[in-house]
Amino acid sequence: MKILVGIKRVVDYNVRVRVLPDGSGVDKDGVKMSVNPFDEIALEEALRIKEAGNADEVIVVSVGGDECQQQLRTGLAMGADRAIQVQTGQSLQPLGVAQAFLKIIEREDPGLVIFGKQAIDDDNSQTGQMLAALWERPQATFASKLNIDGQVATVTREVDAGLETVEIDLPAVVTVDLRLNEPRFVKLPDIMKAKRKPLDVLPLDELGVAAESTLSVSHFAPPPQRGKGIMVEDAAQLVQELKNRGLL
């Protein structure tokens, strides 16, 4: 079967992110961009499934401008067989991304679609779930264990109450959580090999997806600065200060 892995180009997790002074967004000038860490875990899992003999092709897919080809090449270097860039200059909402993926599914007919559980820039955790609904197929999210047996996947999910194990029929959508695996390092020769692997560019409108945004972000602000504390001499002063602040 084929596995589609969705990867997103995001600000690297090491970057000290800063809000622009006018509140219009986040300062991305000269900032390092990487594959979303959860998507790397998703790709690692897809590669392991293929290496175990349960899949024959791993395809990495990203939706965005041509810059995201850099992340697709990283995916190819890790071991994916093919890459697809759904090309668009607009910034899409999760629903738009899910609709784009549905079109790719119609072309590729995969047995499994894997995403990271959420992107570290917007933390939405929506795309996988929306795609499963549009596709009318099962979903298993926040996977910390995944086992494929024929046409059935057994997934252990990390939920608020603990761990939940579900069985779903393939084809299906799975989104992965941190503890699923540790992604492999890329080997230098594989970076060279990745340059020769196919990377197809599909413009978004050719796929027939109407990318209209129903949401617009009005303002960004950093968390409020912590105020300066004061040192108190003794318990009596502490009580007095708390009373002064109306806390007691």
């Binding site: 970057v15 800063r18 000269g30 390092k32 390092f185 970076i191």
Partner: protein, 533 residues
């Protein structure tokens, strides 16, 4: 251990700084069919690059004509130069020395410049590999350098392979170019192995610390280049600051201390923070925010410390050789020129042989010769240094004789019998509060479960001798607070190494008085993530 996989290239370049990238670019311009690779330990090009920097554009005009139509992202033409002598509360403007007249030059972010050069090199067919650290030299059977060995990834702190273990490959090449920058760890090994420095004076260094600030609108005057000397340093400690005004309300502020300082209790990071509290600087920075910070050692030895730059199978360029011009406070133009010269040499003869003679005959080394006595003159103190500097400048270094230099680590005075000068330092209110707060802005990252890359060759010395003789200066000269003396479980104290804080500046490898600290490269991709530095 299985046999390592091998990749072959015509030229392998270690380090994607201005020297390495210039060499790679020029090689492909001269001989497009050459297979050229550049490996870089940073996770992306520019992430480990930190510099002032005001650059002379001449070599860039030669390497990439037309660059001015498509300049790097941070590139501000210099409009005005100022040199200030500071006291704790006052300042006096000094005449700008000719070496610091920057008409026609540009203030850039060297990291952004390298990130901008990288795709141009790739477009010519250079294979760039950020995230891969060269951890060892590969030697051929006849003892020549035959390439490098990439460090293994996925080794635990206990030295054992983890689940993610990935063996590093070997890169074989008839010519290896070392462009690791100041005190490169492979360069250091090769200089020792081939005795490349036996006819040279010891190499000497400074530590450069830098912060990039976004200041209140109107405070930054783009194109203004300011340097200061004097307070907060004493007359026996060489150093000074730079304040480079950029666009978008940004100011690059930095401080350099010569590592030949003698006071064992001296605290370079604190000196930098004190400088920021001088009224002239405090006024610029107040209510601003720090965007990025970091530190790097700077090579200062110049002409008399230049080692032989060629050996069988390899050559040294840029600050790995030590080409920075201290009075100009510039090394980038030298790095680019040396990269181009190396490329021309390799393209003509396909070997390292003869490069050293070519380098010494070039205007790169002629430039260093002219200013060779300026930095060492300050070994006699600030005022004698200034007088000699003026003399050397006026005579363009033609006065015969060359002042000697002394190894930095040997300059540290022992506590016993030494009295530190009065520092006259102030209380501080500007961020960062301390080194831990500062290192946060370097965004440095190391997987903690890996072997510690700061090797202490004789660990007992730290508690048994150094505490008593020097009061563990590593706990002060490291800008990232990697070294701490903490309570040991069984009474007494021990050295704790917080390797994950390391910003790869190499100061510890240089200044440790016993020379028992050996910096080696950690797992590829580790280290700082400097932005626009």
């Amino acid at each position: 251990m299985s046999e390592r996989e091998i990749m072959e290239y015509d030229v392998i370049i270690v380090g994607a700084g201005p020297a390495g990238l210039s060499c790679a670019t020029r090689l492909k311009q001269l001989k497009p069919d050459l297979m050229v690779a550049v490996i870089e330990k940073a996770s992306e090009i520019g992430a480990h690059i930190l510099s002032g920097a005001v650059i002379e554009p001449g070599p860039l005009d030669q390497l990439l004509p037309g660059w001015r139509d498509n300049p790097p992202p941070v590139c501000v033409p210099v409009e005005k130069d100022e040199l200030w002598l500071l006291s704790r509360t006052g300042r006096r403007r000094l005449p700008t020395p000719p070496q610091q007249k920057n008409h026609g030059n540009f203030t850039v972010s060297l990291g952004a410049l390298c990130a901008w050069m990288a795709p141009q090199a790739e477009a010519l067919g250079v294979d760039l590999f950020p995230g891969f650290a060269a951890s060892e030299i590969r030697f051929t059977d006849d003892g020549a350098v035959g390439g490098v060995i990439i460090g293994d990834m996925g080794i635990g702190q206990d030295g054992q392979p983890k689940d993610t273990y990935m063996q590093g490959i070997e890169i074989h090449a008839p010519v290896t170019v070392l462009s690791e920058g100041c005190r490169g760890h492979l360069s250091k090994q090769l200089i020792r192995r081939y005795e490349l420095d036996k006819d040279a004076q010891p190499q000497t260094y400074g530590i450069g610390m830098k912060e990039l600030w976004r200041v209140q609108p109107g405070k930054s005057k783009p194109g203004l280049v300011q340097h200061t000397t004097g307070w907060p340093l004493d007359s026996k400690t060489y150093g000074g600051s730079f304040v480079y005004h950029l666009d978008k309300d940004r100011i690059a502020v930095g401080f350099v201390c010569g590592l030949d300082y003698e006071d064992p209790e001296f605290f370079p990071f604190e000196a930098f923070q004190q400088f920021k509290h001088h009224p002239m600087i405090h006024e610029l920075l107040e209510d601003g925010e720090i965007l990025s910070s970091g530190a790097r050692a700077i090579v200062e030895g110049g002409y008399q410390s230049l080692p032989r730059t060629e050996m069988p199978g390899a050559l040294l360029i840029g600050d790995a050789a030590g080409l920075l011009n201290v009075p100009k406070v510039k090394g980038t133009h030298q790095a680019i020129k040396s990269g181009m010269l190396a490329a021309e040499h390799i393209a003509a003869g396909a070997s390292a042989e003869g490069f050293d003679a070519r380098l010494r005959d070039s205007d790169i080394v002629r430039e260093l010769y002219k200013v060779r006595n300026i930095r060492p003159a300050f070994n006699k103190g600030f005022w004698r240094g200034m007088i000699r500097a003026a003399f050397e400048t006026a005579t363009a270094g033609r006065w015969p004789g060359t002042l000697p230099v002394h190894a930095d680590h040997a300059c540290l005075r022992k506590l016993d019998g030494y009295t530190a000068p009065e520092r006259d330092w102030v209380d501080r209110d500007l961020p960062p509060r301390d080194r831990l707060a500062s290192v946060y802005f370097a965004a440095t990252e190391h997987d903690e479960d890996q072997p510690i890359h700061l090797q202490i060759l004789e660990p007992d010395v730290c508690t048994n001798r150094c505490s008593r003789e020097f009061d563990n200066p590593c706990t002060r000269f490291c800008p990232a607070q990697v070294y701490e003396m903490v309570e040991a479980e069984d009474a007494g104290r021990r050295l704790q190494i917080n390797a994950a804080n390391c910003v790869h500046c190499k100061t510890c490898d240089i200044k440790d008085p016993y020379q028992i600290i050996n910096w080696v490269t950690p797992e590829g991709g580790s280290g700082p993530n400097y932005q626009n530095m």
